[in-house]
Symmetry: C2
Subunit: 232 residues, 2 copies
Amino acid sequence: MADQPFRIVEVLYPGLTQLDFTGPHTVFSRIPGAETVVASEPGGAIESDGGLTFAGTRRMADIPSCDLLFVPGGLAATDVINDLVFMAEIRRLASSARYLTSVCTGSLVLGAAGLLQGRRAACHWAWRQLLPLFGAIADPSRVVRDGDVITGGGVTAGIDFALVVAAEIAGEATAQALQLNIEYAPAPPFQAGCPETAPAKVLAQVNKRMAAFLPERTRQVEAAAARLRATG
Amino acid sequence: MADQPFRIVEVLYPGLTQLDFTGPHTVFSRIPGAETVVASEPGGAIESDGGLTFAGTRRMADIPSCDLLFVPGGLAATDVINDLVFMAEIRRLASSARYLTSVCTGSLVLGAAGLLQGRRAACHWAWRQLLPLFGAIADPSRVVRDGDVITGGGVTAGIDFALVVAAEIAGEATAQALQLNIEYAPAPPFQAGCPETAPAKVLAQVNKRMAAFLPERTRQVEAAAARLRATG
């Protein structure tokens, strides 16, 4: 890395899924020579899911540029893709970034910004099918790399994703040291982490709950996709 | 579960490792019928590692009781075990709890409170050997259950731990649905997550960095252990 710190801008918005952000942040904030900037469109305190509020985020407009842009997901991701001020800031920061990255439905934000056209990208399994509306190719892998675009699947995929990013920008040995530091030798008590391995009853129950959100989220994605087609 | 929400009190302190807390919080905050209370001794904003600040924590003294007490770890865990006001609140809340739980060096806090005497407990691999100073039996497992004490290993073990806890208090199907929701089908890019599998050079490097902290942390644990023997 160069003498200047490698600047990672992490973009929060109200209603984000905090673990999409906090998993990668743990890794990113420990990369030697990197600087993490926690940002949001208004700046200040941002409330995430589960009632957690992060204080003191920086205003996106006050950040001139970044080396890596990172967008976590959340149920509210399809709200913010229709917030024109937020999306203008995403596009501006993306234009300066060497890497564009996301976890979970954060890839819908990159997609809505027109940054994934013809690119393979990951997304949370339940929302992955929305990516092609932005011209992206939905990839079911846990971490997907397509050139300078690195994306992770749902929520906890952010830890795998962040280690891939750490290896890319700081080398494998550094990424492995970070993995050892956070004792990342996962041992899930159940094999229910993806639709292919979850018990059928559990999958049906989760799908039923997700289905309640699907019409409105699809409508929001379609609105953003129409705007993208119209503008560029 | 009963009609009353199952109250989970999560105890923060300055310098905690935020992923120790945010991983389990994601699971706990989604358990139907459970209520999560994010607390700290002074209340208000608490700064964690990596520059993240959590706003609006509740004052421990204002929380009359809990069903489950959860203590995350962090480099500062061995500071707070010598904070007598904090430790008195830990003991008071623990006395009302059905379950005592921790992740990472959070088990040193439970130990210093005299809650692990003769009990098996997990801890971050680099600090596990300090547990016996509090009369606990250090267990290298990722999640350890000994009666009503459920503890997780270092940092990311918190997700495995939280799913075990969710299954205990809300049933396996609920824990599996939560696992599917957070797409927890981990796929680490390297096998460096514990000393047994990490490359020797990486382990040596991390051990060297940890060694710099060891004398002071050991001294802090010894001071707390002496106090425990004198009073308890």
